[in-house]
Structures are given as structure tokens and as C-alpha cells.
């Protein structure tokens, strides 16, 4: 019986992220449109878009290989696994033992690898340029991400997300400059990974500097639906990571009775919505960067994360 309840809670989390992802995307688009004094599409528009794409014919280039057809499903599946593993409303669920921070980075890296291959498969110029830029951003963002993982792991003593959240809830860690720096670096990395404004513009197909949209330019129909929902899932995965690592308040950490789970769920929804409002505010206040400035942007994230690790060493010794 207990196992069934555990399984149900884990399945609920998996379904929750995949159901919530388009809504979060819709909220960011709506807020951004309102900030630009446009009315913007309804908040539920991404669901409608996905429904429409599912029923459209998928146009495939003549020289596309099997890779081109398989890649969207791989990207979606891997991203879904990653998003579903991040603790959202409760710690210590059934599959929490597998939710390791480094494994999560590896899963998202696999998704990126598949998408970059698919971008180059058809052989158009845009796909190639998108893939090469995506790989450049990844090679800059991943060292920073690894150092953030080190920082959090040094403070909490583990890389397992669920245990980290439980430790941060139950044990007072005090004022930690390192965690603040790690959060700062993580926001930079999340912006770069999710193709948001200073790095990439998610709302355009017409810019020569586009990265993510350039890779998926050839896709249509159900394949595009898979890729778009994977992108939304990735965004919510990063939101959940921020909420779980740096603001785990309200999560159901102890025994799972209905009240604790309800509080956890409400807290999670509030945190994700808050982040979905903050992201477009940040986006509208900065301008898109030149491609050659990416290393400086992500180098700042790397420096902050490295500094966070160093500060931890000073305060606790080797």
C-alpha cells in the first residue's frame, strides 16, 4: 500500500511538470507582452499551439536520415526525465535516489547533443550555424554549472537533489556568500541554457544571431510539437532547480500527510509562477548580446561559481 502511494506521488510529479510546462511558457510570454504594452496571446496559448502542431502534417526533407525523425522524441523523453526528477513539492519521493545533480546535467547534455545532431542532419546552413553556436554556449556554460554543483555539494555534503533540499530545510546553514554567488551564477547559466534574451531570443525566427530557433528551423508538425514541449520542460526544470536548491521552503520534507503535500504543492506553484514573472522582467531590461560577448557573460558566471567554491574553502579549511 505504502509503495502504491509513493508511486502515485512520483507519477503525480512527473505529470505535474509536463502539464505545467506550457502554462509557465504562456505566463512568461504574457508578462513579456504586457511589459511591451502589447496584449499578448492568452496564457493557455502554448497548449493550443501544441494541439495544432500535433495534427499538422510533418514535412520532412528528402535527404533527412532516421536521426532527424528520432531526435525530437529523444530530446522530449530525456528532458522529461530530467524535469520529473527534480524535487518539486516534496523531497524523498520514490525515484529521488536517482535525482543526482550531476546526472541531471548529463541528461540535459544528452538532449542538447541529440538536438545539435538533428540540426546538422539536413545540411542547411541555418541548422549548422545553430548547432555550432549551441555547442559553444554549452561548452561555456557547463564548467560554470559543474562548479555550482560543487558549491552546493560542499555545503550540503551530497549531490542528491532531494537530500540537498531536505538539508537546507532542516539544518540552518546560516548566511552563506557562496550560495548567493552560486545562485547568481546559476541564473546566468539558466538564461544561457534556455535560450533567453541576453543570449538568444526565443520569440524570433528572423534574426541572424538566433541559436535555438536556427537548429529547429526545419522541423514541423508533431516533431516540432515534441521539440517545443521539450523546451518548455527544460525551462520548468531549471525553475524547479532554482526553487529546490536555493529556496526549498514549504516543501514536504517529513512524513507525507495531506496538509504537508498541499502546502508543498502551493509553495511550488507560487515559486514557479514568481520565477515565470521575474524572467520576462529581466529579459525586457537588457538588450540582446553579440555572439562574441557570450564568453564574457558566461565567464562572469564561471568566475562567480569559482569564487563561491573558494569562499567555502576559506571558511572551512581543506
Amino acid at each position: 500500500m505504502a509503495l502504491i502511494v509513493e508511486l502515485a506521488l512520483q507519477c503525480f510529479q512527473m505529470m505535474l511538470v509536463v502539464a505545467l510546462a506550457p502554462l509557465v511558457l504562456g505566463v512568461t510570454r504574457k508578462v513579456k507582452a504586457r511589459l511591451l504594452r502589447r496584449i499578448g496571446p492568452p496564457v493557455l496559448q502554448p497548449y493550443v499551439d501544441l494541439w495544432k502542431l500535433m495534427h499538422k502534417e510533418a514535412v520532412i526533407a528528402h535527404n533527412a536520415s532516421w536521426l532527424y525523425r528520432v531526435a525530437p522524441y529523444v530530446v522530449f523523453a530525456v528532458t522529461w526525465v530530467a524535469a520529473a526528477l527534480v524535487p518539486t513539492y516534496a523531497t524523498d519521493l520514490l525515484f529521488s535516489w536517482s535525482a543526482d545533480l550531476i546526472a541531471l546535467v548529463a541528461l540535459l547534455g544528452t538532449a542538447r547533443f541529440a538536438l545539435a545532431l538533428a540540426g546538422m542532419d539536413v545540411g542547411t546552413a541555418f541548422g549548422g550555424i545553430g548547432s555550432s553556436r549551441e555547442m559553444m554556449i554549452a561548452s561555456l556554460a557547463e564548467p560554470a554549472m559543474l562548479l555550482i554543483a560543487f558549491t552546493v555539494a560542499l555545503v550540503a555534503g551530497t549531490t542528491q537533489l532531494s537530500s540537498i533540499a531536505a538539508i537546507f530545510i532542516n539544518v540552518p546553514v546560516g548566511l552563506r556568500v557562496s550560495l548567493g554567488l552560486a545562485l547568481f551564477a546559476f541564473v546566468f547559466v539558466a538564461i544561457a541554457e534556455n535560450a533567453r534574451v541576453p543570449i538568444d531570443n526565443p520569440a524570433t525566427h528572423l534574426e541572424l544571431t538566433m541559436v535555438h530557433e536556427a537548429m529547429v528551423l526545419e522541423y514541423s508538425g508533431r516533431h516540432l510539437a515534441m521539440i517545443e514541449s521539450a523546451a518548455a520542460l527544460k525551462l520548468i526544470a531549471y525553475f524547479s532547480l532554482i526553487a529546490c536548491l536555493f529556496f526549498p521552503f514549504g516543501m514536504a520534507a517529513g512524513d507525507k500527510n495531506a496538509t504537508a503535500l498541499g502546502v508543498g504543492l502551493v509553495a511550488y506553484l507560487a515559486k514557479v509562477l514568481l520565477l515565470a514573472v521575474l524572467l520576462p522582467i529581466g529579459e525586457t531590461s537588457v538588450a540582446k548580446m553579440r555572439v562574441f560577448r557570450y564568453p564574457i557573460f558566461l565567464g562572469g558566471a564561471f568566475a562567480a561559481a569559482a569564487l563561491a567554491v573558494f569562499l567555502l574553502f576559506v571558511s572551512r579549511g581543506f
Partner: protein
């Protein structure tokens, strides 16, 4: 010492180090001056906290001095100077921003390693303050040697001096006379620098110190 007061000291000293990095990261002169003012304010807070923790009331004087002179007076004067020299443009760097940051990280690691051996003899807080102070000093030196513009070099020097004050207050029992003399020497250095910068500007129509190289008589490859 309770863990909260240690954490606050750690936070303030750590934010000074972070602001040192921000100084290296900025590429506009006005932004550099603002970050410098912020660093001085962080220094003042840190010193004030030390005076509470160490129960040394005279450190409050140091904090007030740092706040007034380096937090407000010197940045305002530098802002005026930048306006009068009409150099609102970007900071000219000798090497790029990326390598500078990497060198800075290396210097921070070096200063932490250097302070590690004194672990046994002093308290945790002193050791940490020494490590941060050394890092801030080294980063100030790095800023001085990687910038071409005389004004940003002055800022590098002042931030180096912030590190010195942090180190001095971290160690217990610095006499007040020393602090006064350091503060006044900084003011005098600032005045000398100011006059010097205006003289360079008058003579060479620029505050890029690279222009001085031609007049040293060492580099024969240039006309």
C-alpha cells in the same frame, strides 16, 4: 564566537572580494567608480562589525573614515574628474576581460593557499579576513597593471588600500594613530594622483599612460 557573527563577518568580507571582481569585470569608467564606492561601503560595514565583535570602539572611527572618505568623497571627486577630463568612454585594458578574470581567480586561490598554514596560530575569523584581504590587495594590483587609463589605475590603487584596511582590522589591536595616518596618506596620494593625471592630460592630450612610454628613452623601436 557565535556562528551568526562569524557568518556576517564572512558575508561582508566576502562581498568585498566579490566587488573587487566586479571592478575587474566592469568596462565603463563611471560603473567602475560606482563599484569602488560600493566596495568602500562594504569595507566600512565590515570594519564596524569587527568593532562590535572585538569590542574595540576605536574601530568605529576607522569605519566612519572609510565610509566618508572612500565611500563618498573620493568617488564624487573622481566622477567630477572624469567629467572634466571628458573620458566617459570604455575602460581600455591591456589584456582582455577573460584572461584578467582567470588571473584574478588564480590570485584568489593563491592567497587562500598562502594563508592556510597559519591556521593553528590565529582564530578562524582572522585567518579568513587575512585571506580575503590578501586577495583584494592582489586584485587591486592586477587592476593597476591591466588598465591603461590613469583614472582606473587610481581606482585600482584605492581598492588595494581597502584590502590593507581589511587586513589591519582583522588582526586585533591596530592603534588609532596608524589608521589616521593611513587615511590621511591616502587622501594626499589621491591629491597627488589628481594633479598628476591633469598634468599628463595637459601634456599628452590623453590619460592613457601608454603615451608616457615614448618619453622614457628605453624603447628605441618607437619614434
Amino acid at each position: 564566537m557565535s556562528s551568526l557573527s562569524f557568518d556576517i563577518a564572512h558575508l561582508l568580507a566576502g562581498s568585498m572580494l566579490v566587488l573587487s571582481f566586479l571592478l575587474l569585470y566592469q568596462d565603463r569608467i563611471t560603473a567602475v567608480l560606482n563599484v569602488f564606492a560600493l566596495q568602500a561601503i562594504a569595507l566600512a560595514l565590515s570594519v564596524a562589525w569587527q568593532s562590535l565583535v572585538q569590542e574595540a570602539p576605536h574601530l568605529i572611527v576607522t569605519a566612519v573614515l572609510a565610509l566618508l572618505v572612500k565611500g563618498f568623497f573620493i568617488p564624487t571627486a573622481l566622477h567630477r574628474m572624469v567629467r572634466r577630463l571628458e573620458i566617459h568612454r570604455e575602460v581600455e585594458q591591456v589584456i582582455g576581460s577573460g584572461p584578467t578574470m582567470l588571473t584574478g581567480l588564480f590570485l584568489v586561490a593563491l592567497s587562500i593557499l598562502l594563508v592556510q598554514p597559519v591556521r593553528e596560530s590565529v582564530s578562524m575569523l582572522t585567518r579568513e579576513d587575512l585571506a580575503f584581504a590578501l586577495a583584494v590587495i592582489l586584485l587591486g594590483m592586477l587592476m593597476m597593471i591591466t588598465r591603461r587609463n590613469a583614472v582606473t589605475q587610481v581606482v585600482g590603487f584605492m581598492s588595494l588600500e581597502n584590502g590593507l584596511v581589511l587586513a589591519a582590522t582583522g588582526a586585533k589591536g591596530m592603534p588609532l594613530v596608524v589608521e589616521f595616518s593611513v587615511a590621511f596618506s591616502i587622501l594626499i596620494v589621491f591629491i597627488v594622483f589628481g594633479v598628476f593625471v591633469f598634468r599628463i592630460r595637459e601634456r599628452f592630450d590623453t590619460v592613457d599612460v601608454g603615451a608616457l612610454d615614448r618619453f622614457r628613452g628605453e624603447r628605441r623601436d618607437q619614434a
